[in-house]
Symmetry: C2
Subunit: 308 residues, 2 copies
């Protein structure tokens, strides 16, 4: 059998990374490309598990590294430091993404479809339209779930008209009440009790690198910031250990209240003061409250990246 071309999102996969991989494979099949296969680079989080359970579908296979020359298709990321081990020597055939482009290069031309939308699945939704393919219930719910997750039910400032239009149409196709389904899905993802502090800071952590300065922005969603802050002392302990072991200059841990659209951040590291400049706030007890901030990509990262 010919070797499969692997489709995957970023490490610490979120709902968009998993669902867009699965949708990409479905779209490939509709385009007559039988040889692609969705996989994942890490554990399924509780929010995504809710989606898979709802649809009664299996999680994609876990992979930890890839061999040189392996054909791959990336979704929901492009930066090599967020991708699979061995990505530098892979054959990257295509990327579908909604993030900035950085720490990425290829030696050959490729397909690259990026749009500054709230979600990768919205780009895939438009590809279904372009190719004139019918959208069936499974992929409709997968794409709707991605959009709900990435835009926090269209409340994040990353939300575009494209995401709104896609989600509305997908809700109709799937014949579900988006608001009800979405709240249940998001709440499923905020159940943090089972996680150790070590796990919490890695649940959705992006590693970044600017001119050799390494930093991490991690995020958890919750319906009660207070609840998470009860664990601050232990959280700081594991964050500081990570700063030491990975030689980080900054670790920002954002606790995002998805009902009220605010975030409390914990910032540690030799460059913690960057956060003060970035948001014009003074850190008190290593913390700051950021009103209206919910998006890492649109709010946290640009402000921190500019000041680091």
């Amino acid at each position: 059998m010919e070797e499969k071309v692997l489709i995957f999102g970023h490490k610490n996969p979120d709902t968009d990374s998993i669902c867009s991989s699965l949708v990409h494979e479905i779209l490939d099949k509709k385009n007559g490309w039988e040889n692609t296969k969705a996989v994942r680079l890490g554990n399924i989080n509780k929010e995504t598990q809710y989606v898979l359970d709802y649809l009664g579908i299996e999680e994609p296979e876990l992979i930890e590294k890839i061999e040189p020359g392996q054909g791959v298709l990336l979704v929901d990321h492009n930066e090599f430091n967020q991708s699979v081990d061995g990505i530098e020597n892979a054959k990257i055939l295509g990327v579908t993404d909604h993030h900035r482009i950085a720490n990425f290069e290829t030696s050959e031309p490729l397909y690259y479809n990026a749009k500054p939308y709230g979600c990768t699945s919205t780009i895939l939704f438009e590809e279904f339209k372009q190719f004139g393919h019918e959208i069936e219930r499974t992929e409709a719910i997968l794409m709707a779930s991605s959009i709900i997750s990435d835009t926090l039910l269209l409340k994040s400032p990353t939300t575009t008209e494209h995401d709104k239009k896609a989600l509305e149409e997908l809700g109709k196709i799937a014949n579900i009440n988006i608001e009800e389904y979405g709240l249940e899905m998001l709440k499923a993802g905020t159940d943090l009790d089972d996680f150790s502090e070590e796990q919490l800071i890695n649940l959705d952590a992006k590693s970044l690198n600017k001119d050799g300065i390494k930093f991490v922005i991690a995020q958890v969603n919750t319906v009660s910031i207070e609840e998470v802050l009860k664990r601050q002392e232990k959280l700081e302990e594991v964050i500081n250990a990570k700063i030491e072991s990975e030689n980080l200059s900054l670790f920002v841990f954002a606790i995002t209240d998805i009902l009220n659209s605010n975030s409390e951040i914990i910032a540690l590291g030799s460059k913690a003061d960057v956060v003060e400049k970035a948001f014009d706030k003074t850190l008190v007890n290593n913390r700051a409250f950021l009103e209206g901030v919910v998006s890492r990509k649109k709010q946290l990262l640009p402000a921190i990246d500019k000041n680091i």
Copy 2:
């Protein structure tokens, strides 16, 4: 007046860089985006001049650098070292390209439409289709000229089925004989007599950088390799001067016979032996004949990049 968003191809612009910029502006207007403007980063070559004269349209305005925060749209390139001075601090809103991605990064999400086709204009052709816009005679000839130039009338190995299909349809829309028009256009571009050796090596030169190793691959098209080789001694002189002044490890000058689809290369620099490994040839008098090699992107660059 609101500041214009500038559209441009690479330095040392070829026909695809100029024509795709002009077509992009036309497409933007059809999409209701009035605020974009095609410009150029260098002199119009004789081939492109033939196209502009044929259509009776003005060359785009020359720009030499841009201010921080300037909104830009790139066509036919992405690597910063091939782009305008100041690109690092521009606001890159979109890229339409058919090259590998390298030496490129943004701090914000953007539109990026790359496909591994023979020509940028083929990607734009498909965008006209996707948006459902009519293609008029001017943009049909502009896009056809780009495809003819980049694929050497569909003979280059970079040619894809997409390019063939686009060129056929564009020929019909423009109501021209593609073969006749194309040969006239290509021949116009091979008139090298007026150029100094200094100009010849810069006509279509790509600067590359791999892990800090700087190298250049320059190319000229001709109907007589012999004619160009008469100037070898003087060519080597200016190439060596450029190697010294720009601290290059390798300069490859490819003289491509567009009628018979072969190239003779002159390779100079401390890493000239890379070329011997790349093509399994021995350099004699700093030269090697590469049968069937016409494409920098698909043939010269990957082989050299792998061995440098």
